[in-house]
């Protein structure tokens, strides 16, 4: 667009903003699981953070929630360069930051450089350091992003949020800056975080025209109070409704349950470094001791034989709808105590007084669980412990706070535990390399108990070397089979996440993982 037309365009954008305000003018309030910790995309730690940031920032590329194609709102055109080791990105004209400044290639390269700066203490940036090698500004709107190697899915590697160069003094970005509460993005909403909530004001832009003027994020307290508040029209939505309350929501005429594809799966990580658990047969015995059908009945409330259950068993590290899920590996829905006993006996265990002993010592399992899982599956830790107790294992249980989970468990320092119950969530890119490859350098960063297997490493290497989607899927099918055999994790289930929204909220397409990607189409009131 040439310069003389820019004032006209800005005027039109202003008129559109005022019109949208007059037409809808409504504030849409919703409950989140908690308040976001930060609105700075480099420091997102929870799903709440990711969701809130999706309202404020544009990611370079994202998956269209309707047809799953990789698309972009900010990129005009893009092409592979330098034999596949780089990607040339041309940004659209007329993009604006929330402070009115133009979005340009310098911002894109700044974002890359900020993530590559070793003084930026960000785990998200750390993840990108194995993917991105640098960035060159070729012109005002054209940037060349360099990769560390050739990827079969280069666009998916550019799924990070765009940061404004002008909002920072350097590429070493600290978490405790004003940007974390009053960020400047280019997304559909301008966000402001307070101590009790977050407000998002619509910001009309060339590539966004949100029709709901204001969003108000509140911290969800008691789930029953949340649902009652929704019924009384004092709030319009709940991002995640606990399974036991879903029938109540379904029964209300003016509320609707909506699926939120979070691709979360639940697991029990097994400490393969412990002498008592190093033998594969013992892990297999534990796997057969668990009765998953009973567990989900007692904790999630799934009735036996229930159709459309929110809880789907899995046999590996992917949800069943994933192309990476290996359907040849069966799920283990019920317990098989006889086989478990045989395996333990073969492994040299002896049953004395109802408890299994290893080398003459009773086996006492130290079981930990990520504490917030209790909200979705009440008493899960206790029920798992009870089943293991009935199977002849002594045990002690601990609930682990989110901070401790992030600081000690994910980093592989919680070695005092034998079993850890947790949940991983993924977007459309379900890459599990960091969970299962041997922990060395930047590899295996989320390998909880330092599991190491040449077969698993080989499968991960095959995935990394894949140049086609089929080759990547084949590699992960192999990994799935290896893990189901070696059992560094006892895989439990995928638990559906459901949102509740009042029926006055229309056009509310919920995107996988990031939730608000299509918020421009949402309407309410007016």
């Amino acid at each position: 667009m040439t310069a003389p037309f820019r004032p006209i365009r800005a005027w039109l954008v202003g008129v559109a903003a005022v019109a949208s305000l007059l037409l809808t003018g409504a504030q849409l309030s919703f409950y989140e699981e908690s308040l976001p910790g930060t609105l700075n995309p480099l420091y997102a730690q929870s799903m709440v953070d990711f969701r809130a940031q999706e309202l404020v920032f544009d990611r370079i590329f994202y998956h269209d929630p309707v047809d799953n194609q990789i698309v972009s709102r900010v990129v005009e055109r893009s092409e592979l360069a330098e034999g596949g080791k780089a990607y040339r990105v041309t940004l659209k004209d007329g993009l604006r930051w929330h402070d009115g400044k133009a979005v340009g290639a310098a911002d894109l390269c700044f974002t890359v450089e900020a993530m590559l700066d070793p003084k930026t203490p960000s785990r998200i940036a750390q993840g990108y350091r194995t993917v991105l090698a640098g960035c060159e500004v070729e012109s005002e709107r054209v940037a060349l992003v360099m990769f560390t190697r050739v990827f079969h899915n280069p666009k998916e590697r550019l799924g990070f949020a765009l940061l404004p160069k002008g909002a920072f003094t350097g590429t070493a970005i600290a978490p405790d800056t004003d940007f974390s509460v009053h960020p400047i993005g280019s997304g559909p909403y301008k966000g402001g975080k307070g101590k009790r909530g977050v407000t998002f004001e619509a910001y009309a832009n060339g590539h966004h025209a949100a029709r709901v003027n204001q969003l108000s994020l509140q911290e969800g307290g008691d789930p029953i109070v949340q649902v009652n508040t929704l019924k009384q029209k004092s709030a319009q939505g709940i991002v995640a409704v606990a399974p036991p309350l879903r029938p109540d929501v379904s029964a209300a005429d003016d509320l609707q349950l909506k699926s939120y594809d979070l691709r979360s799966w639940w697991f029990i990580a097994v400490n393969t470094k412990r002498p008592a658990l190093a033998d594969k047969r013992v892990r297999q015995a534990l796997d057969r001791t668990l009765d998953r059908t009973e567990l989900r009945t007692l904790t999630i409330g799934v009735k036996p034989g229930e159709q459309n259950s929110p809880c789907e068993f899995i046999s590996g590290p992917f949800v069943q709808s994933s192309p990476f899920y290996n359907r040849a590996v069966p799920t283990r829905d019920k317990s098989d105590r006889a086989t478990a006993s045989r395996l333990l006996t073969e492994a040299g265990y002896k049953l004395v007084g109802g408890l299994w002993q290893h080398n003459g010592q009773p086996v006492k399992l130290n079981i930990g669980m990520l504490a917030p899982l209790d909200k979705e599956a009440p008493e899960l830790l206790q029920q798992i412990s009870n089943q293991l107790g009935a199977g002849g294992f002594d045990r002690v249980e601990t609930r682990i706070s989110v901070d401790d989970w992030n600081r000690r468990v994910v980093t592989g320092q919680a070695t005092e535990f034998d079993l850890l119950v947790g949940k991983w969530s993924f977007g459309v890119v379900e890459e599990v390399n960091q969970l299962f490859e041997t922990r060395t350098g930047a590899k295996g960063a989320f390998n909880i108990f330092g599991y190491s297997s040449p077969e698993a490493d080989a499968a991960v290497a095959a995935y990394n070397a894949a140049r086609t989607d089929t080759a990547a899927a084949d590699a992960y099918h192999k990994l799935h089979a290896v893990l189901a055999d070696q059992l560094p994790y006892l895989f439990l289930w995928k638990l559906d996440t459901k949102s509740a929204w009042r029926t006055e909220v229309r056009g509310n397409t919920i995107s996988p993982y990031f939730y608000w990607t299509e918020v421009d189409g949402w309407t309410f009131g007016g």
Binding site: D176, K195, N406
Partner: protein
């Protein structure tokens, strides 16, 4: 009674040192606790930049260096930025918002508790009022606070933190603080008990026989005890304010202290704890000054007598 001034002077000394000692204790506790707050953001085993972050937060040079640097900045009015409570927001800004809320909460509750004491002192509130206040005071602040918080949440829904609800939260907070844990009943009972004991003294009987009002005679002797009771009640209210602010989600210093502790935001914790120390120091100093004034008046040589 030589050396009657010693106790008030000790109080003044304690008041002067309290705001220095409390942040030192917080710094010591921060180092004694397991874990490093910088590791929550960026575990050093999996993420570079953690050392820079620890240096930025002064967690890299030991508790004494942390304390010295914090104190130096704090004396200049600089409290740094929140690490996690409201990441990036200056702690001074958080305190500017929180301190008035806590002062209003504790001030209003303190006023009502003082009125209870005055009622007991003058006999306006008798045994029946005391029994009733004591019965209500059996309820713990947590319980009353939760009831109030639930009713506000249900009434206001997603607007539970709007201006209307905020006013109700404050009113409910004051009510809980005054009624719960025997604050009102204790003040009333304390004043009545002290008055009754003094009233039994011989000099009061003599004064009554002389046709004088007993309170005028008792007050100089009662005043130090009553001032001490008032300070104790206000300290109790300050402690209670932490519970009330947390349960009712009032944006006060107590809530900052609690949230900061949960999130290991020690920049906020040390500042909030110091504010509480300053509150306590002010109360100690006020008590000491009152004791000195009263002492001076009581020990004044009556007119007409040779010294």
């Amino acid at each position: 009674m030589a050396g009657w001034w010693l106790r008030p002077l000790l109080r003044l000394g304690a008041a002067a040192t309290l705001p220095l000692v409390v942040p030192a204790l917080v710094a010591a506790v921060v180092w004694a606790l397991p874990g490093d707050p910088a590791e929550i953001i960026c575990p050093r085993s999996t993420c570079t930049g953690g050392a820079e972050l620890a240096a930025r937060w002064r967690l890299d040079a030991g508790p004494w260096a942390f304390y010295q640097a914090w104190l130096g900045d704090a004396l200049g009015g600089e409290f740094g930025r929140s690490w996690r409570v409201l990441q990036g927001v200056p702690v001074a800004e958080l305190l500017t918002e929180a301190v008035p809320n806590t002062l209003v909460l504790v001030g209003a509750a303190g006023l009502l508790v003082t009125l209870a004491g005055l009622g007991g002192l003058t006999g306006a509130l008798g045994a029946r009022a005391e029994a009733l206040a004591r019965a209500v005071g059996v309820a713990p602040a947590v319980l009353l606070g939760l009831l109030a918080a639930a009713s506000i949440e249900l009434r206001y829904g997603a607007d539970a933190f709007g201006p209307d609800a905020a006013s109700w939260r404050l009113v409910a907070g004051v009510a809980v603080l005054v009624l719960a844990d025997g604050a009102f009943g204790g003040a009333l009972a304390g004043a009545r008990a002290a008055t009754a004991a003094e009233r039994a003294a011989r000099y009061v009987g003599v004064a009554v026989l002389r046709g004088e009002a007993p309170l005028d005679n008792m007050l100089p002797n009662l005043a130090p005890a009553l001032v001490g009771q008032l300070r104790a009640r206000l300290v109790q209210l300050l402690s209670g304010a932490v519970v009330v602010e947390v349960v009712l989600r009032l944006d006060g210093v107590g809530d900052l202290l609690w949230t900061g502790t949960l999130l290991q935001d020690f920049g906020v914790v040390i500042a909030a704890a110091t504010v509480f120390a300053v509150f306590s120091a002010v109360l100690l100093a006020a008590q000491a000054v009152a004791e000195l004034i009263i002492g001076g008046v009581v020990r004044r040589v009556p007119e007409g007598l040779a010294s």
